[in-house]
């Protein structure tokens, strides 16, 4: 083995949300002296405000650290961060593929969770060395011995030497770093072989174009090389190579075993797809790295400019987001109710929420989102197959032979006292239990076969609510299955509002129709006339509510002292009106669109 590789350690940190991954990363960065404590922002790796606020990592950050070990040698640590949510499984798997080892952070008070397991399995698929660490050891409720046993039982890795750390308090970090040197293997590869490098992330830089994060498996790459991306087949000239520590530092070359970045004047992140293999155009490797797949959107919804917002502004913002997010797609569509807007595809519900929130925060845009939908496979009577994700595009019922809906395999991990309520909410959502196993005496893993459309609706909220936040969920697409789904429409004052239409299972249509009508009745303000709210399947009305006409909106007294108060009241009323959306003669507050999707504890 070439000498330089002996001193490289490529690893990720994997954990369940809230188990302290980002804080631990911060401590490691701090300990290796990369960033002084003063410069240290809380959770260094979570760059976006949104990420910091939600405490989750969406976009990867990769950092090269220098560690002086007790053995007298200087080691290069490439810490490759992974996104921490079920929507981003593929990205996680590619990041892991760039490593030799994974530091598995387990909360010493909580133990193993569904996502811990999901991530561990991904790491095992990549043959990584898994190095468990017990975090939050400073908390009085920490149970290190029990959790150690749990890790060994459930995951099957030796946890006897797992360092006990508190990322928050900075306890045990030194020992952890020494163990990384000791336990995680140095990378292999041959720097003189033909170039074979993995793209595990990319982002768009206004000056450099797309910046590719890469792990070199074989060969060497330099500025000026012509590279080819094996799956897209496109060729580019390398304009810069370098490493992140934590800002970009240009270097002469990247060699087998190293991790760094490559710029090659690429215009869109979609052209440098995660999982693709980089090789040299005139001396290519024979075989691409395994595991590449083109990411598929699983969840779709309409995004429309809110009242007073310009279509063009929303379009510009979506384009900017897309440049940086290969998994996000959109195309223009029109709705009779909402006008011109966009049909957008996401990896999952969280991904959708993130994009919508970024539109609102980073671009200061007001948008309306319609009910999220999955892709249905519609088999027509003439044998043709349509993939439909917008309820409005569903063909006439007469032309439909049958519809198939996407199913997922869902793993739900809960403390055993919640098993009953979880079974209830799963059953309620057409879930079929495949099996269930006790991971420990107190924790259960439930395996369900469930329709994706039930998962994206309010399942996660329900799960959290019914388990007081202790339940965790992981799911992946399994197959399409024939299903009796129908299109549910909502009519306001007899006019259909297409933005409220949704595809639901026949057995749920009545309940959903009733729920939406009741919600809208609460939210739609009184008008000067009665507003009937109806839910229908085809021509058949299945639920109805009425918003009474208002007759009175007046302040009886307004003398000297009341004027300022009254002014504020009128201003508030006017503000409220601005957030209204006009459908024919009916005004609907914008929050109506999200409110009809929210999980309701009492239902």
């Amino acid at each position: 083995m070439s000498d330089y590789r002996k001193y490289i350690r490529n690893f990720s940190i994997i954990a369940h949300i809230d188990h302290g991954k980002s804080t631990l990363a911060d401590r490691i960065i701090e300990k290796t002296g990369l960033v002084s404590k003063r410069e240290m922002r809380e959770q260094f790796l979570d760059n976006m405000d949104l990420e910091r606020e939600r405490g989750i990592t969406i976009k990867l950050q990769t950092t090269r650290l220098v560690f002086n070990s007790k053995d007298g040698n200087e080691y290069i640590f490439n810490l490759i961060d992974t996104p921490g949510h079920v929507d981003f499984t593929y990205e996680v798997s590619r990041s892991l593929a760039a490593c030799e080892g994974a530091v598995l952070v387990v909360d010493a008070t909580q133990g193993v969770e569904a996502q811990t397991l999901a991530n561990v399995y991904l790491a095992m698929d990549e043959d990584l060395e898994i190095m468990p660490v017990l975090n939050k050891i400073d908390l009085p409720s920490a149970r290190p011995d029990e959790i150690r046993e749990e890790i060994e039982d459930v995951i099957g890795v030796d946890a006897s030497e797992a360092p006990l750390v508190s990322a928050k308090e900075g306890i045990g970090i030194e020992e952890l770093l020494e163990q990384i040197v000791e336990k995680i293997p140095a990378p292999g590869g041959d720097e003189n072989a033909r170039l074979k490098a993995l793209i595990f992330d990319s982002y768009y830089d206004n000056y450099k174009g797309v910046v590719i994060y890469t792990r070199i498996f074989d060969g060497t790459v330099r500025e000026g090389d012509m590279i080819r991306l094996m799956n897209t087949g496109k060729k580019y000239e390398v304009t810069e190579v370098g490493t992140y520590s934590p800002g970009p530092v240009e270097c002469e070359k990247l060699r087998a075993g190293e991790v760094g970045y490559i710029c090659a004047s690429i215009k869109q992140v979609a052209d440098a797809r995660v999982g693709d293999t980089i090789t040299l155009a005139d001396n290519p490797t024979e075989e691409a790295l395994p595991g590449y797949k083109k990411v598929q959107s699983m969840v779709f919804c309409g995004i429309y400019p809110a009242e007073g917002e310009k279509y063009e502004n929303v379009k510009d913002a979506l384009e900017k987001l897309q440049v940086n997010d290969a998994a996000f797609q959109f195309e223009p569509e029109t709705s009779t109710a909402l006008g011109y807007g966009f049909r957008c595809g996401f990896l999952g519900l969280l991904h959708m929420e993130i994009i919508v929130e970024r539109l609102e925060r980073e671009f200061d845009l007001g948008v309306i989102t319609t009910s999220p939908s999955v892709i249905y496979k519609v088999v027509k009577t003439d044998g043709t197959v349509l993939m439909v994700q917008n309820p409005s595009n569903l063909p006439d019922p007469m032309e439909i032979d049958h519809i198939e809906e996407p199913m997922v395999k869902a793993d739900i991990m809960v403390p055993k006292e919640y098993v009953g309520s979880i079974m209830e909410i799963c059953q309620d959502r057409r879930g079929k239990m495949l099996h269930m196993e006790y991971i420990t005496k107190t924790r259960v893993n439930l395996h369900y076969d469930m329709p994706l459309n039930e998962v994206i609706y309010d399942f996660f909220d329900a799960l959290k609510s019914k388990t007081r936040g202790y339940g965790s969920l992981d799911y992946e697409f399994s197959r399409y299955e024939p299903s009796k789904v129908v299109k549910l429409d909502i009519l306001l004052n007899k006019d259909m509002v297409d933005a409220f239409s949704m595809i639901v299972h026949e057995s749920k249509a009545y309940a959903r129709g009733r729920f939406v009508c009741e919600k809208l009745k609460e939210i739609i303000p009184m008008h000067q006339f009665e507003v009937p709210i109806q839910a229908s399947i085809g021509q058949k009305i299945i639920a109805r509510e009425t918003v009474r006409a208002y007759r009175k909106d007046v302040i009886a007294k307004c003398y000297g002292g009341d004027i300022s108060r009254k002014k504020k009241l009128l201003e508030k009323q006017k503000e409220g009106k601005k957030r209204m959306r006009q459908f024919g003669t009916v005004e609907v507050p914008q929050e109506a669109f999200t409110a009809v999707l929210k999980y309701d504890d009492n239902k």
Partner: protein
């Protein structure tokens, strides 16, 4: 900004009652201690002197003593206060001087003292002529007290009497309400105020309706029926409605209250009292003890945070929403004189078209329709 009439209205607040009514969320405290009331009068007198130095040589053509219950003040204190105003401000000979009174707090002596001090208008809080409703509201008087109070006021020489009535009260039927209005008309007051009960959060009545569910709120349809019914009865009896909640025999409209709706200046005395002077709006501090302390120190009882900083556009909104409370509405030309801007440059004519049926523009005036009164907030919100 200019105001067409620069005569000033003075408002004096008396934040004390014998007992607080269940629906009340005004600034008032229960007080049965004449010593405190006299101390309070002294503070008011100090504020009058202080304010006069700030706004000297102003002619006053209306004074309104409101509350609370001003009639619980010892008569001699009330007389001292009025005298002090006359000592300082230039009070017009025909100045309208109103005092608010609770029927259970009046006596012949008190009323005689008021007349001799020059108080020429009395506003009596009757609210209802139904004893069940009165006790449910937590009023300290019954209907006989009300009859007696009005008789006494007339006998003392009051020729301008207002009766406050309230409708839309839980448990009130149309019949009970019509009876109350009929009784009121029988007493022939010069002025009648009709207030739709507002259930204010935090009041005992609100709790009785929303938390304890002892009472049921009347449906808005009934409230409006009561309102329009009463207005019709008043109209047939020779009263003219001139504001959302006020009607009077011609010539007896309240000069003081009209100032609030006609963008005129007013100066408020006492805790929580608001002023609109020289284009500025400010409010005295709310707490009685703090108020007393300010004046002991010889300082104006206003905290910096109680000075409103309104833009010209804010003021335009106020001009319009207060003006629209009057049945005659407001004049576009007066608006333009006041603010020096073209009305339709500021407000899109589309706003008025969109409010068809609720708002009418006829020549120079813009006013609400009778239907518009019912939903006046919606209309006014378009202009703020």
């Amino acid at each position: 900004m200019t105001t067409t009439n620069n005569k000033l209205g003075l408002y004096l607040h008396v934040p004390f009652c014998r007992k607080k009514c269940r629906y009340c969320d005004f600034l008032s405290f229960e007080c049965n201690d004449d010593g405190l009331l006299t101390e309070y009068s002294n503070a008011l007198i100090r504020e009058i002197r202080l304010r006069y130095k700030e706004w000297p040589y102003r002619v006053v053509d209306s004074i309104f003593i409101g509350g609370g219950t001003p009639s619980i003040m010892p008569a001699e204190d009330m007389v001292r206060i009025i005298d002090e105003i006359r000592e300082n401000f230039l009070v017009d000979d025909d100045c309208e001087i109103t005092i608010e009174a609770n029927p259970a707090t009046l006596s012949d002596e008190k009323l005689d003292a008021y007349i001799s001090a020059g108080i020429n208008r009395i506003s009596i809080g009757v609210q209802s002529f139904d004893n069940t409703i009165l006790s449910m509201l937590g009023r300290i008087h019954d209907k006989n007290d009300a009859f007696k109070a009005i008789r006494m006021a007339k006998r003392a020489g009051f020729e301008n009497i207002n009766i406050d009535l309230m409708f839309g009260i839980p448990g009130q039927t149309m019949k009970k309400w019509r009876d109350t209005v009929r009784q009121c008309l029988f007493l022939e007051p010069e002025h009648i105020s009709l207030y739709s009960l507002q259930l204010e959060e935090g009041t005992p009545l609100y709790k009785m309706v929303h938390t304890q569910k002892l009472l049921t709120e009347l449906p808005p349809e009934t409230d409006r029926e009561m309102y329009h019914d009463a207005l019709l009865m008043l109209q047939n009896a020779g009263y003219e409605q001139y504001e959302i909640s006020n009607a009077a025999r011609p010539g007896y409209e309240s000069r003081h209250n009209l100032k609030y709706w006609s963008y005129r200046e007013y100066l408020g005395f006492g805790p929580g009292a608001s002023s609109f002077m020289g284009g500025h709006r400010f409010k005295n501090c709310d707490k009685v003890l703090e108020y007393l302390d300010f004046l002991k120190e010889g300082l104006p009882p206003v905290k910096p945070e109680d000075v409103e900083h309104y833009t010209l556009r804010d003021e335009m909104g106020i001009y319009i929403f207060t003006g629209l409370r009057k049945t005659e509405g407001f004049r576009i030309s007066e608006f333009e004189n006041t603010f020096g801007e073209d009305f339709f440059d500021v407000y899109d004519p589309e706003i008025i078209r969109n409010l068809r049926g609720l708002l009418v523009a006829e020549g120079d005036t813009i006013r609400l329709t009778e239907k518009g009164f019912d939903v006046s907030n919606k209309v006014m919100a378009a202009f703020v």
